[in-house]
């Protein structure tokens, strides 16, 4: 293991349950802190005794605290998801590209999140709300059921803010659910933004991102104005192993956030 792949020790400070299979961990450095990640970047988190997995940044502070939201999917993420306060984990990174919301200037910003995808977008949405240079902020969130929605506190805060237009939809709900039921693309059709001067940030299951991208293009966005966070089986994160290759791209280096025209997601 080289210096580039040696994890730093971090301690789980808090563990907040988001849904039945998802928890948010705040991590504090035990020794030296890693470089502060940008929204959209990922870290390699080690569950000692299990292995390491790439996890997007879902928050954080300038004091060195890292925030990651982990969905229990395989043995490593199940171990990370279950990590109680004071558990030691390994951290290396940050890796890859970020959302870089600030590069969008005065354009309208549309964030489209599906399921766990909101974890990566959350810090970018907060960054957008702290900037005064952009146009409208539209946040569109899809989930399986109301109980699967992440970050209920953030959603409630954005809903109250006059500068954020939040819409939520789920695939299944009982009568009494006050928001939408349907595919997240139905929200794009109804949202207020000027397509020709909008940058979109999309994160979720890849099949969702494809249909969302098409819906955004129907609203007048060009492929270069749509940014996606790509999921690939990442292993080294140091451009060496090639496990995360997508055509000419290595998603650990050129992603995870890429423009739609770079990703070729709609090319068939």
């Amino acid at each position: 293991m080289t210096a580039a792949t040696t994890p730093h020790r971090y301690r789980v400070r808090t563990r907040e349950v988001e849904t039945a299979d998802t928890a948010t961990l705040s991590l504090v450095p035990v020794d030296e802190a890693v470089e502060t990640p940008r929204p959209g970047q990922l870290m390699m988190l080690t569950a000692f005794g299990f292995g390491e997995a790439p996890i997007s940044v879902s928050g954080g502070n300038s004091d060195g605290t890292l925030v990651h939201t982990v969905q229990a999917a395989g043995p490593i993420t199940r171990a990370l998801h279950a990590a109680a306060p004071d558990t030691m984990v390994g951290v290396r990174g940050p890796y890859g590209t970020g959302w870089d919301v600030e590069r969008s200037g005065a354009r309208d910003l549309v964030f489209v999140a599906g399921g766990i995808g909101l974890a990566s977008l959350r810090p970018a949405i907060w960054a957008a709300t702290e900037s005064k240079h952009h146009g409208r902020i539209v946040v569109l969130v899809g989930a399986r059921t109301p109980g699967d929605l992440l970050f209920s506190h953030d959603l409630a805060t954005w809903e109250r803010r006059p500068d954020v237009a939040l819409s939520v939809t789920v695939d299944q709900a009982e009568v009494g659910w006050r928001a939408n039921v349907g595919l997240v693309t139905s929200l794009i059709k109804r949202a207020t933004f000027e397509g020709s001067r909008t940058t979109a940030f999309v994160c979720g299951p890849e099949v969702m991102m494809r249909v969302v991208a098409r819906a955004l293009i129907d609203r007048g966005l060009s492929e270069s104005d749509i940014r996606l966070s790509l999921e690939r089986n990442m292993r080294c994160a140091t451009w060496s192993c090639g496990r995360c290759r997508l055509g000419p791209l290595l998603t650990c280096r050129d992603g995870p956030v890429v423009r739609l025209d770079e990703a070729g997601l709609l090319d068939g």
Partner: protein, 162 residues
């Protein structure tokens, strides 16, 4: 029909592109209605003889499932068309509809529009084209939801399997 009704009708996205003469024909059988939150608009199995173009609010398509209660299949909002069972035999609602919030819509007599379609091929083509487009859009959305894309975590978080 009042000129205002036709004017309003012509501005609804679902009607966009229909020639004005045919909009006027639809307008002959249209009236503005309001629903309060929780109001049942129609119930599964009832005779379907009308449809609605939604201006404001939100309406849920629902289905009663024994042992599970009433489930929301989809919500419709401003710009959407509610109801197409009026167009096809046996003219019965396949689902129910309930207003989720206070809503405003243009209610159109489907039986009368069907008769008007028989006499006016331009109107007939316009109506079937729009209902078909709505059907295709919702079918595709339903197929995507059938995939349960949010419900299979191993597929959409970076894999941590060896």
């Amino acid at each position: 029909m009042t000129p205002l009704t036709t004017l309003m009708l012509g501005k609804h996205p679902w009607v966009a592109g229909i020639p004005s003469d045919q909009v006027a024909l639809i307008g002959d059988h249209a009236r503005e209605v309001r629903f309060h939150a929780g109001q049942v608009i129609f119930a599964e199995g009832e005779h379907a003889d009308r449809f609605w173009l939604i201006w404001e609010g939100q309406i849920a398509l629902v289905l009663d499932i024994p042992g599970r209660g009433t489930v929301v299949l989809e919500t419709l909002s401003a710009g959407d068309c509610l109801g197409w069972s009026w167009l096809f035999p046996p003219y019965r609602w396949q689902f129910g509809a309930i207003a989720v919030s206070d809503s405003r819509a243009m209610e159109i007599d489907g039986t009368a529009v069907r008769s008007a379609c028989d006499a006016d091929p331009v109107l007939c083509a316009a109506i079937y084209k729009r209902v078909s487009a709505t059907t295709v859009e919702r079918l595709q959305a339903t197929r995507m939801r059938l995939l349960d894309i949010y419900g299979a975590p191993a597929r959409h978080q970076w894999s941590d399997e060896p």
